[in-house]
Amino acid sequence: MANGDGMNRRRFLKVLGAAGGGAAALSGCSGDATDKLIPYLVPPDNQIPGIATWYASTCRECPAGCGVHARVREGRVVKVEGNPESPVNRGRLCARGLASLQGLYNPDRIRGPMAKGASGEFEPISWDDAIARITERLQGATGDLIRFVTGNEAGTFDRLVTEWLRALGAADPVVYEPFGYEALRHASRQVFGVDQLPRYDFGAARYVISFGADFLETWLSPVEHARGFAEGHGYRDGSMGRYVHVEPRMSMTGMSADEWIAPRPGSEALLALGMAHVIVTERLVPRQPDTFRVEQLLDAHAPADVAERTGIAAATIERLAREFVAEPSVAAAGGVGAQHEQAHVTAAAVNVLNYVAGNIGRTVLYGADLNPAGPSSYAELGSLVRAMRNGGVGVLFVHGVNPAHAAPAGTDFAGAMERVGFSVSFSRFWDETAMHADLVLPDHDPLEQWNDFEPRAGAYALQQPVMQPVFDTRQSGDVLLAVARQAGGTIAARFTAETYKDYLQQGWQRLQRQLGDFRPFDAFWTEALQRGGVWRDAPARAVRLARTVTDLQEPATRSAPLDALTLIAYPSSALYDGRGANRPWLQELPDPVTKMTWSTWVEIHPETAAARGIREGDILEVTTSAGTVEAPAYLYPGLRRDVIAMPLGQGHTAFGRYAEGRGANVYALLSTDVTDFGGFSHYAASTLRHTGRHEYLAKTEGKSRQMGRGIAQAVTLAALQHGEHGEEHGGHAAPVPEHVEQLLDEVQEAQDADTRYGDYAGDLPRWALAVDLSKCTGCSACVTACHSENNIPTVGPDLVRRGREMAWIRIERYFEGGEDGEPLEARVLPMMCQQCGHAPCEPVCPVFAAYSTPDGLNGQVYNRCVGTRYCSNNCPYKVRYFNWFDHQNPADPAFSFPDPLHWLLNPDVTVRSKGVMEKCTFCVQRIRGKQHDAKLAGRELEDGEILTACQQTCPSDAIVFGDLNDPSSRVHQLSRDERGYSVLGDLNTRPGVTYLRKVRNLTVDEA
């Protein structure tokens, strides 16, 4: 901490003490160092040490634009949670959003402006110098030589860049999002003549069919979809929705499906058209006005015609069509993992299907103009790269995107940058693009900056700095304005704003007028800041089939060599396109499907693997026409036999210590050919070669089958409706006799009485959880939330291989069936400490480190723990985690929070030293916090007031926390639900966690 860069304790206190403007000083964005020290005698009103302040802002980890609340303690943000007012995420957040903190505090952030010197090494320079260098370069270049690449920045920054470029006489920026949804957009244009993406209302649909759209992972707005899906599909009062997933690979989203259909790769469109054919010819629903436009097309796609080409029986297609129209339904297409060359045809066919079924305007809503990628297009990036190579670009700016990694490797953006006279990166990290720039001007982290974002029509999400910048970074908007000012002349005249914040406010003043709000701007602005933005309903837009729909071509049949396997490069649900790879939480988050961490793998069907003599962990060389990479094999039954799959996101050659050199870059396998819809294909014909080497996989899973133990239980809807509540499981067939039960109760009471020292809270609660498995999708946001809330260290791949990951909650994923013609079913179950009434861990601890709290928790006194580990041996759920190394010690090589990552540690939770057992205690610090609040206010705690971290973030609201002793509490009622069961309840551990069985909505012939 001796060096001057970064935020050290001294500087932090200085900032804290600079109480000139109170919160403004703490949260303000002025980059000027404060040189006055004022003792903290008169604290600012809203900064009380020990009390958190919450600021609303917007998550910018992906273009979904969820609202966040940042929890700020003593001037630094320690957690982000969803903003309940945001219509996008309604208070929930995914793992990537939660891990945005690790972007802010990333130890590999660029700590100040850097310029590449003559030697090719980067050297620190001053901001003034940097701005002068840009101005100089710009003055030496004509407008047509200046190009700007941004990610999706829909909102003020995009306007600023465009205006700035126009002032320079340059072309508009190239917007590039690797997950561009060009196919969906193309299909909207072709089928409806509308250049926008609709919003899909999964909450209103009782029947969902997805043609490869991973809508719970990365597709458009996953948190919103998860909420809607849980609402529409989750079991309630005897009924539920049904979900069919159509994709050659069962993705995490597909794992939630009631039925998984694996068509031949690339033939999804035929299935959609076949279904539409049945709907139209059998007149299952009232005919839509424009149906005549597609009649000819549909005529050629009778189920019998497409059955062979899709590999799906005609009867199945007919059944799907009937099911599809029987209830409010929605069909979705266009996931990145299903983005093959014909993806636009699939998307168009699905649009047609939605149209003929009457879903347009009901569950598929145009007008919202969902903006997951802006007008992004890989084609444009491609032509820019060509221009760069031909010397057609003199000055290049890259902001908010990393095309040197996140594009098919053949694009060679980095190589093309060498041919550019002068390139400027605004990256916050040393990513592959920044490494090739001449000048690197690190932007503020989204949590440090003023900005806004428009995730859809009518949603204006604000970002405000929630704390002082950690490093000597500067907001890119301010840099552009400074350059404009320095350039002087007409350019300077076009920008009246002093700072980017002013520019932003000018925009918001216009917005206020636009929205018809006539209050003083300050009131409007303050309210927007408090709420995290302004939310208006999107105007609905009626659409009709466009004439161009007749151009819809049926997908060309793929003619791959016989022995070739189709490679699917699918998005990693944690790392996204690779931008999450430098966050240790996301690296260590087990992939929801494979439970792999920190690596890239090749998914291969067990039968295909057996036929080729491949075993799990064998390192395979995967070759496509574009390139070759190596990765270990992972045997996955959720694939077609002629398909292999690999996740995107790893294989960085830069991007900091957590990302660099890890796994393989799957973009290297993808062709740079621009598809008809302007994107690139995520499918490729591939061949496999066994390298003869072997690797022990860094996965967190032991066995993938339940061995009939009834851990994750399920029941069919039909059975429930007939009054059966599901499988009875367990080791002992005989029930516990009544007198034994009574004795056990007495023991329990005596135990409780023993623990009621001082009786400090009168009638004590019994804290408990209920987890609805019919809602849980396995997305694993809870895992990251737990990491964030409870200061859980990440341990790295080598320790994961040794089973030493520390996350207190894990998502267990089990497979059922998948053999002998049985359909494959995946079940997920969040497993956290069950807070047993008769906890096996407690009596075996020789020093009382494990003990029962009076309110029914299994406490763990870290300071008392000697580390015999008997408690964990005796825990049937295996939810106790031992500190094998000193992850909390900065002097130890195992230190998990290198400066300034340790800033994200929650001050309410202790960090644990080596040799100590740790575990989930239902976020006891949150329980005590709310209890104290209630006590101070002199009132009773209300049900639902305390939220555990996992529950708080769960996008599908599958976790409910509360007091089991309060008969009116939600958790009490759920614990008595007909679907309720305890995992391994036969062991008489009396868990505080009730699981509600997953409900499978099977069709008659399946069930």
Binding site: R709, G731, L799, P843, V844, N874, F882, F885, D886, G915
Partner: protein, 451 residues
């Protein structure tokens, strides 16, 4: 009085009192070069073990191979192994004493010494294995200002008492048994050793009164030690039996462990005696008959252990408990099948060879067999501990444990630690009881005419 071993076959000529004292005291003579080489090897291995332990304390238990859910591994395995070894000593010295088995006299000292040092070794392992060794003293119920107390429900605490009691009693027993012998050696010693013997012989002069008191005291101590033979290893077995881990939670554990402990202990006595009698040239006192008796004990306990294995499998099947069944199926056919079959073959089948008298009386065969039993008994504990833990209730949380160099070094170091004490003791104290051997040979009488 009886002869040294009955029926007397190989030593037709009874030694005289003088010869006994001479022969035994001769073992304490100047050590050979081999002795120093052995000592050096032991010290090097011990240093390696100590280094591994310090390494582990410095960086954390993670340097060992623990792989959750296997949170006990080589250390606890080796702990139980050494506690088990310790059991035959007390059996031979105390129980056989009470039963007046005369043949014990020439072997019991070795067994007792082995017991004390084995407990001394075993006692290290709970410390080596805890996460925070610097707080291991918290396991003792000592008065403290923080009003913290220990949990008497925990079998681990019972262990603390069982092992410390056992160490105390067996040490006392050894020291008391040594007194007349040390006094005998004292007369012949010079220099610092004489001082040592003067102290350890506790002023023994061999008066009638002293003998009377001595015999009483020894008898009482034997009576006191006897229940410990059963209780200590029962308590150790409860570390496992009191849990809910499939493969641990079984009522058979206490007798099963006690039999196993005696079994392994006798095997270790054989392993130690074979080279010892050769090096110390006391074949006259430790005869093939002794080995035959030991091997009968080995056969008996081996059969009990084999029976216990069978019963475990039978109960796993008969209980109808699928977790138990799966656990035992996994033992035999899972990832650790080799460990299980090593255990079953070494402990269950090889000792059946002892039904043949030829094997029982062949010292090389017995020596090799005893090594196999030692190996098998180590693996028995490994199988019970590691294999059960690796295959518990939650399929998702199952795992596979492989030890690292740290554990192997500490395991080797524990043998070095044991042999260090053993070697030092063997050269400084009589390893064959002078007094008791004398007791069982016929009183020397004046020669009668005609004999």
């Amino acid at each position: 009085m009886a002869t040294i071993a009955e029926p007397q076959r190989t030593a037709p000529q009874q030694p005289t009192y003088h010869e006994i004292t001479r022969d035994v005291v001769a073992t304490l003579g100047r050590p050979s070069r081999t002795y120093f080489v052995l000592l050096a090897v032991v010290l090097v291995v011990l240093a390696l073990g100590a280094f591994a332990l310090l390494w582990q304390i410095r960086w954390g238990l993670g340097v060992a191979g623990y792989t959750p859910p296997v949170l006990w591994g080589v250390y606890i395995t080796t702990f139980v192994f050494w506690v088990g070894i310790a059991h035959s000593g007390t059996l031979i010295s105390a129980i056989l004493y009470l039963f007046r088995s005369a043949w014990r006299t020439s072997v019991y000292r070795t067994a007792e010494v082995m017991t004390v040092f084995a407990v001394l070794t075993a006692g290290l392992f709970p410390l080596i294995h805890v996460g925070r060794i610097w707080y291991a003293y918290w396991l003792f119920p000592y008065p403290n200002q923080r009003q913290l107390w220990v949990n008497f429900k925990s079998p681990l605490l019972w262990d603390v008492f069982a092992v410390s009691t056992y160490l105390t009693v067996s040490t006392l027993f050894l020291i008391v048994g040594l007194v007349p012998d040390v006094a005998a050696v004292r007369e012949k010693a010079t220099g610092w050793r004489r001082k040592l013997y003067e102290v350890t012989s506790l002023g023994w002069r061999g008066t009638d009164q002293q003998w009377r008191h001595y015999i009483r005291a020894y008898l009482y101590l034997a009576a006191l030690a006897t229940p410990l033979v059963l209780s200590v290893h029962s308590v150790v077995s409860w570390d496992f039996a009191m849990s809910i881990v499939p493969g641990w939670h079984a009522t058979i554990f206490a007798p099963y462990f006690v039999a196993g402990a005696i079994y392994s202990g006798v095997a270790m006595v054989v392993t130690l005696l074979v080279p010892l009698r050769k090096v110390f040239k006391v074949e006259r006192y430790i005869t093939v008959d002794h080995f035959e008796n030991l091997s009968k004990l080995l056969l008996l306990t081996g059969l009990i252990v084999g029976y216990a294995y069978a019963v475990e499998y039978f109960i796993a099947w008969y209980s109808g408990n699928p977790f138990e069944q799966a656990s035992f199926y996994n033992r035999a056919f899972g990832e650790y099948w080799w460990a299980t079959w090593t255990m079953i073959i070494c402990n269950g089948f090889l000792p059946l060879l002892l039904f043949f008298r030829k094997v029982r009386r062949s010292i090389p065969a017995l020596f090799v067999l005893s090594l196999f039993v030692n190996l098998g008994m180590w693996f028995e504990r490994f199988v019970i501990i590691v294999v059960s833990l690796s295959f518990e209730y939650e399929p998702y949380a199952m795992g596979h444990y492989t030890p690292t160099w740290v554990e192997w070094s500490i395991l080797a170091g524990s043998f070095a630690w044991f042999f260090l004490w053993f070697l030092l003791f063997a050269k400084n104290f009589p390893m064959v009881s002078i007094t008791e051997v004398k007791e069982i040979i016929p009183m020397p009488r004046k020669a009668r005419p005609g004999t």
